[in-house]
């Protein structure tokens, strides 16, 4: 049937890789992606002695830090650090690294040195250029400040012109051009950050009041800050003062405020000259800066080109070295020994690849199968359609090795049970179209590269949604609901006209009675069952829930019992495959008798009542519920008619039979195993049983052990005497029995959620229709009123439908269908305690 039924056969293989070719071999294996390597280097094992099950291995008592290729791994990691630095630089410059193209192999070890050198050189260059750029910018900033200060100092009048009137500071100031001509006026010019300007002014005035004139101006243009690159304005100031001590005070204050102070020449010509000089200097500097930035972009361009393939290659190299660290060295140090898991069908491919990659080394690499003792990992190959369903099953637990896989059935039963809870043609159609759009657009790169997590969740389940929508359309037709409205594809099976004529329902009679019931006992009223689904007359009836509830509850029970029986039957395949025939008779048979005897009988009662009790006997119709209760209590109700003759006898027999199966379930397997264990052991013929009883000693006794398949694979029993502890086995079996028997009852009732959720969905959509759309459709009869009003009403209807009915109800039904599968279906046969084969591969995880 293919690997989806059960999982492929996985073998433990051993590689002998000649040391010179080991690197290439592992690199090729990584490209293939078929093997999962195991750690056999002995690191972490007991330090003394050889491994008991691998006598061909040397004393491999190395600690984790002394593995052979640790140095290479470290070098790769250092390179990766430099790569990160380069990547950061590229990102800072606003450029983007293009994704690497083509298939890059891990480079041979001798290339590592070359890559390392080039990387270091690029990093150094980048650092130098960046440093230069920084210092040049700082210089430019200074020059610009200086010229701003001088340029603005232009507008400030010299203190020698008293008539200019810009002296606002101290009224006590006397123009020094007067009697104190011998006092020299000095100037301090500089620039300060605007936030500190006010504080500076205040401090200056307090400290040197009366002896200075300070003028603050904001720079006209914004200067680029050298560190952050953002434009900022500065305040330039010009302080004229006289007196040496004042000068020192002023300088201290300006130092304190971290102002940039520049020399200020009194004469205007001097200042003009300096200004021109400054401007020339800044022009030159800007040229140099331009050159530097051009060089920087050149370097960055080189980095852009070289970095992406290097990153991929070094990552692959590091992965290969990590795998090589897991190998152990042979006695002669001539080859490396590695162990791994791979599918048996892939073994020839592996051998071929290894031959090819080690041909130049002279000695070829060898791979062969070895006996295994542990449970192999599970490998189930899926394509993009089956992957989502396998994902659902794996989310509960990855199957044990060669256990029956519930996924191929889940492909259909999961969307089906979802649809039972969601049944509506309109909603199902919307869901189907949405999923179809996703499926048709699945190969577009824009869709694949989307990063939104919610979108990716929906996208990865597109096939699931497709099937769910499709089945919902089908169940919608059966429930006869399309956006909560029923359709009459076929003519209804109930005739109102016949009832009216037969019962004399005149118009006057109808006017008096607001509610009247159609009676199926009257001839001509009920013409026959609707051929496809629920009759549309029920959607017009006031008591439609009475009918629908009864129908849906019975439907849930029937579907539930069928699903669970299917689960128990699947367990048969497990028992047969692992050769545990005793479990077939001592477990599956009693389980089936219990389940079918009690709940299969209930289903039988339901169907029998549907078929046999007609409208004529409606008044005296037997109640299945009362019969079922009386069955367990061994009592009878006189008012409840039996459904068929000798019903009581049949029921008592079934209950007794079911109760009798409980001790068989409880004690059968443990006693059988004990008897088997006690039989005299004969050497080779009895090996299989011994294995089974030994392995049953593991943590879960009801688990499938090894079967004849593993015998063929050459997995011998360990030779150790397995202890058979009866009490442990009994306890496990008791747990299993209780879980099954009580679970039968509770799980059957649990399937009633199919009824509950479909009822909720139907009611919600009906309420939405009645409260929203119908209001709009009943608007006035004038032309145009209804049309205008319907537009916003329909918008509200559509929005609420999508938000509540599709998203919320969809998620809810999805969750409940999932629970039904995981708990009620899978606990009948599935253990799910295995682990997946995760091969060593260079493929990107998505």
């Amino acid at each position: 049937m293919g690997s989806m039924f059960r999982g492929e056969e996985v073998a433990l293989v051993q590689f002998f890789l000649p040391t010179p070719a080991a690197y290439t071999c592992v690199s090729q294996l990584g490209e293939l992606g078929l093997t999962e390597f195991r750690d056999v280097s002995g690191a972490g094992q007991a330090r003394e002695g050889t491994r008991p099950d691998a006598p061909w291995m040397l004393n491999a008592s190395v600690s984790a830090f002394q593995r052979r290729f640790v140095g290479d791994v470290r070098r790769c990691e250092e390179l990766e650090k430099t790569f990160t630095f380069l990547q950061e630089e590229v990102r800072r410059a606003g450029l983007v690294l293009p994704p690497p193209e083509g298939r890059l192999l891990a480079p041979p070890p001798r290339d590592l040195l070359r890559i390392q050198e080039e990387t270091d050189r690029l990093a150094q260059e980048l650092r130098d250029v960046r440093g230069n750029q920084q210092s040049l910018r700082a210089q430019l900033h200074q020059l610009q400040l200086h010229s701003a200060v001088l340029g603005q100092g232009h507008h400030l009048p010299l203190a020698a012109a008293p008539t200019d009137g810009l002296l606002e500071r101290s009224p006590l100031l006397q123009p020094p051009g007067g009697p104190h001509r011998d006092l020299r006026v000095n100037f301090v010019a500089g620039a300060v950050k605007p936030t500190k300007a006010a504080a500076l002014e205040r401090l200056l005035w307090r400290a040197c009041r009366g002896f200075l004139i300070a003028s603050f101006r904001e720079t006209e243009q914004q200067l680029e800050d050298p560190v952050t690159g953002e434009p900022a304005t500065w305040m330039t100031f010009l302080i004229s003062y006289w007196g040496e001590q004042i000068g020192q005070k002023i300088r201290k204050i300006t130092d304190c405020f971290h102002c940039h102070v520049f020399p200020f020449v009194e004469q205007e010509e001097g200042r003009l000259g300096t200004l021109q000089q400054l401007q020339q200097q800044s022009l030159e500097l800007q040229e140099v800066l331009g050159e530097t930035e051009r060089f920087l972009s050149q370097v960055l361009g080189r980095v852009q080109q070289l970095l992406p393939p290097w990153q991929v290659q070094i990552r692959k190299m590091k992965a290969v070295y990590l795998v090589l660290n897991q190998c152990s060295v042979s006695a002669t140090h001539k080859c490396l020994i590695a162990e791994g898991w791979c599918a048996s069908s892939d073994l020839p491919t592996l051998q071929q690849v290894l031959q090819g990659s080690s041909s130049e080394a002279g000695v070829s690499a060898v791979v062969h199968r070895i006996p295994c003792r542990d449970m192999p990992p599970t490998l189930i190959r899926t394509n993009r359609f089956t992957a989502s369903f396998q994902g659902i099953v794996d989310a509960y637990g990855v199957g044990r090795y060669q256990e029956v896989n519930p996924a191929p059935y889940t492909i259909i039963t999961f969307p089906f049970l979802f649809a039972v809870m969601f049944g509506d043609v309109g909603h199902g159609l919307l869901m189907f179209l949405f999923a179809l759009a996703m499926v048709l657009a699945e190969n577009r790169p824009a869709v694949k590269a989307a990063q939104n997590e919610i979108w990716r969740t929906f996208f990865s389940g597109r096939y699931l949604l497709l099937l769910m929508g499709l089945f919902s359309v089908y169940t919608g037709f059966i429930y006869n609901e399309c956006f909560s409205r029923a359709t009459t594809i076929f003519p209804s099976g109930w005739s109102v006209a016949a009832m009216a004529t037969q019962s004399g329902w005149s118009d006057a009679f109808l006017a008096e009675h607001p509610l009247l019931t159609l009676d199926p006992a009257v001839s001509g009223v009920f013409l026959g069952p609707y051929p496809f689904g629920i009759d549309p007359v029920w959607s017009l009836a006031v008591n439609h829930l009475s009918f629908l509830n009864s129908f849906k509850m019975k439907m849930s029970i029937i579907l539930g019992v069928t699903h669970m029986t299917f689960g128990v039957v699947l367990g048969v395949f497990n028992h047969v495959h692992f050769g545990q025939w005793h479990r077939l008779f001592l477990e599956t048979l009693p389980e089936l008798i219990f389940l079918l005897g009690l709940f299969g009988y209930l289903v039988f009662l339901v169907i029998y009542k549907w078929l046999s009790v007609s409208a004529a006997g409606a008044a005296a119709a037997p109640s299945i519920l009362i019969h079922f209760i009386n069955m367990f209590l061994f009592s009878r109700s006189p008012t409840n008619q039996p459904l068929f003759p000798r019903q009581e006898v049949v029921q008592s027999t079934l209950v007794v039979l079911a109760l009798a199966t409980v001790p068989v379930l409880l004690l059968g397997t443990p006693l059988f195993l004990r008897w088997q264990h006690r039989r005299p052991l004969r050497p080779t013929g009895r090996q299989p049983e011994e294995d089974k009883s030994g392995i049953l000693d593991d943590s879960d006794a009801s688990v499938a052990g090894w079967g004849p398949d593993e015998e063929k694979a050459g997995c011998p029993g360990n030779g150790e005497e397995a202890e058979f502890v009866l009490s442990e086995v009994l306890m496990h079996q008791a747990i299993h029995t209780i879980e099954f028997c009580l679970g039968c009852i509770s799980n059957t009732a649990s399937y009633l959620r199919l009824w509950a959720l479909s009822l909720a969905h139907a009611q919600l959509s009906e309420v939405l229709w009645a409260m929203v759309m119908r209001v709009g459709l009943r608007m006035g009869r004038e032309l145009g009123v209804a049309a205008v009003v319907l537009v916003p009403i329909f918008a509200a209807f559509a929005g609420l439908t999508v938000a509540i009915l599709l998203v919320m109800e969809g998620l809810s039904a999805f969750l409940h269908a999932l629970r039904l599968h995981w708990v009620e279906f899978q606990n009948k046969f599935y253990l799910g305690s295995g682990y997946k084969l995760s091969p060593f591969t260079f493929a990107e995880e998505d």
Binding site: M1, G2, M4, F5, N383, P408, Y409, I411, I412, T413, F416, V420, Y474, T475, I478, F490, P491, G493, W494, S495, V496, A497, W505, D507, L510, P514, L515, L516, T517, L518, P520, F526, L527, G528, P529, Y530, P531, F532, G533, I534, V537, W538, L540, A541, V542, N543, S546, S550, F551, K554, M555, I558, L559, I607, W610, L611, V613, S614, A615, A618
Partner: protein, 81 residues
């Protein structure tokens, strides 16, 4: 199709659809997915058939009828055959 005596048409439909499904199974292309496809088709037909069967059986012998409002009865008396 709403008339009594549904046994003959029911049997005919069942036999017909069963044989159609059986024939379809022979035409599944051989490939790695053959087993899965067959499983899917069988499960799908069983589920859908069972569901429809339950719906028909539940309505075969109704024990009570729909309770309608008088306005509905007025309308249906003349609108439905």
């Amino acid at each position: 199709m709403a008339y009594n005596g549904l046994t003959v048409p029911l049997i005919v439909t069942n036999v017909f659809s069963g044989s159609v499904r059986f024939c379809v199974l022979w035409f599944i292309p051989k490939g790695p997915n053959r087993g899965v496809t067959i499983t899917m088709l069988v499960t799908c037909s069983v589920c859908c058939y069972l569901f429809r069967l339950i719906a028909i059986l539940a309505q075969l012998n109704p024990l009570f009828g729909p309770q309608l409002k008088n306005e509905t009865i007025w309308y249906l008396k003349y609108h439905w055959p």
